[in-house]
Symmetry: C2
Subunit: 266 residues, 2 copies
DNA sequence: CGTTCCCTTGAGTAGTTTCAATACTTGTGG
DNA sequence: CCACAAGTATTGAAACTACTCAAGGGAACG
């Protein structure tokens, strides 16, 4: 359930206990639209999940090009959206708990990328016919699902900007800042450490550089005193400095949480 | 209406005449979901457009961060999705006729990027309250709108892959291949020339390189005999060679047209 | 007919890649 | 518990790609 002992502690906090009515979907749009959904709608959404599926590290949930008739909501761990080509793999996005990893498959019918587990994960499965029926009955739920895929698109756009404007160390820093904020929205951020099972090759495939260059970029972040990244896990005691270095502005994540992110459009 | 005399000819072709019932929305999802929409639904969609707005080259339709209560469908010309930062501008996407340029603003309420005209364009305006009402009454239209924004996301993902894996000349070639295919889906592709009012600086901001480097990349495409790009307009007599050079696979555009793109997942 | 914007070219610099070799981790079976 | 194997991380050197700065040429617009 929890990604680490720290998160375990957070899940046992009072406000987390209030959410145990929704063991599978408690994080869906948490920190964004979730507060605008009625308790009834939240129950409908929770009831969509018929099954949970553990996936071992590096295993694939959906293969690129495959027709899909169900979608998965990530319950714990991280998943990667990947495109394999002749000369290497490309990572076009990261999913955190609460994200529907392939909701766009509902309308597109087949995916243009694969979804792979980074570390061991658990996924909740939703059958498309049930989702379809629910969305016709509850327009607000349909809107929430749409919103969730639009968030993905906003993150894609930020990645495009990041790849166009930042150098390798800043790209890596930006990716971790984004993850930290997204984890914060679902109450799973730790102030000093971000545990993730990424290899330097994974980071390379996210940043579009070689893994050797990732190593040097990671060294640079260490030498600048901004962050220490070891085997995917980032340690820092100054997120603020790291965010500034990465030119990270969280407004694109459309959060409405304690950070009042929506106010910060620069 | 037409982008060039060639397209003017195509618009006068018999199958184009059959579409004049929809002067504003004839290209919406053309070559994709459009054929699955009833004539009735197509009329509803056409009636959404209350107004048309001409926009002069380089003018902005929506500013990043601005609240929006309407969306625009591009009628003619190209628009750019841009993010201005302290040190330069970044282009995260291109819109062609038939695209809703800011449909995601409907659910997100404010945009994380600006929408700017590349050359003179015309836009049809749709008020969100009307769209909202229509989508509740006609679930298939709601689905079509969702699908349209998912196409944008798929294109974003391909751009991420392009930025991660291709060098500058290939990025430029890929962008033009994509535009050629998207224009083809709406019947506005010309076999030998793709007219676009892009400067080399525009291409630079799309590719994440300097304009000087774009100039050298363009020279390389010319020297390879693949394409001649002058003032944004691309001339070639071998699209097939250009596509191969750019490693362009159109399946991510989810077309169902004469090319049977959906069959080509590699 | 000149101004302005856009494109082109050259030279030096910074960032990134490749190749190759060496260490460190983690997991597994003896 | 140790030894080994496989995967992962680190470092150096040379080559390449792309960037910046700077200056000159060309096309479009009024």
């Amino acid at each position: 359930m929890a990604c680490c002992t720290y998160c375990m502690g957070m899940l046992n906090a009072p406000n987390a206990l209030a959410e145990t009515d929704f063991p599978h979907t408690e994080h869906f749009l948490s920190g964004r639209l979730r507060k605008h959904l009625s308790r009834e709608d939240l129950h409908y959404i929770e009831d969509l999940v018929e099954d949970t599926l553990p996936i071992a590290s590096r295993d694939t949930l959906v293969e690129r090009g495959q027709r899909v008739d169900r979608s998965g909501i990530l319950l714990s761990g991280f998943m990667l959206r990947t495109i394999e080509t002749g000369d290497g793999r490309c990572i076009v996005g990261i999913d955190v708990p609460g994200d529907f990893v392939d909701l766009h498959g509902f309308a597109l019918k087949r995916l243009d990328h694969s979804v792979v587990a980074a570390g061991n994960v658990r996924v909740g499965l939703v059958q498309h016919p049930r989702l379809e029926q629910l969305m016709e009955e509850r327009p607000l739920i349909a809107r929430a699902m749409w919103f969730a895929t639009l968030l993905d698109a906003a993150i894609h756009r930020k990645w495009i900007q990041m790849l166009e404007q930042l150098d390798a160390p800043r790209r890596i820093a930006h990716i971790y800042c984004e993850l930290q904020t997204r984890l914060g929205l679902i109450g799973q951020a730790n102030p000093r450490v971000l545990r993730a099972p990424f290899t330097q090759q994974d980071l390379a495939d996210m940043c579009g550089v070689s893994s050797i260059h990732v190593n040097r970029a990671v060294s640079k972040l260490r030498n600048l005193g901004l962050a220490e990244i070891r085997r995917g896990t980032l340690y820092t005691n100054d997120w603020s400095a790291l965010r500034q270095y990465a030119q990270f502005d969280p407004s694109y994540l459309y959060g409405d949480g304690p950070l009042h992110l929506n106010e910060s459009w620069s």
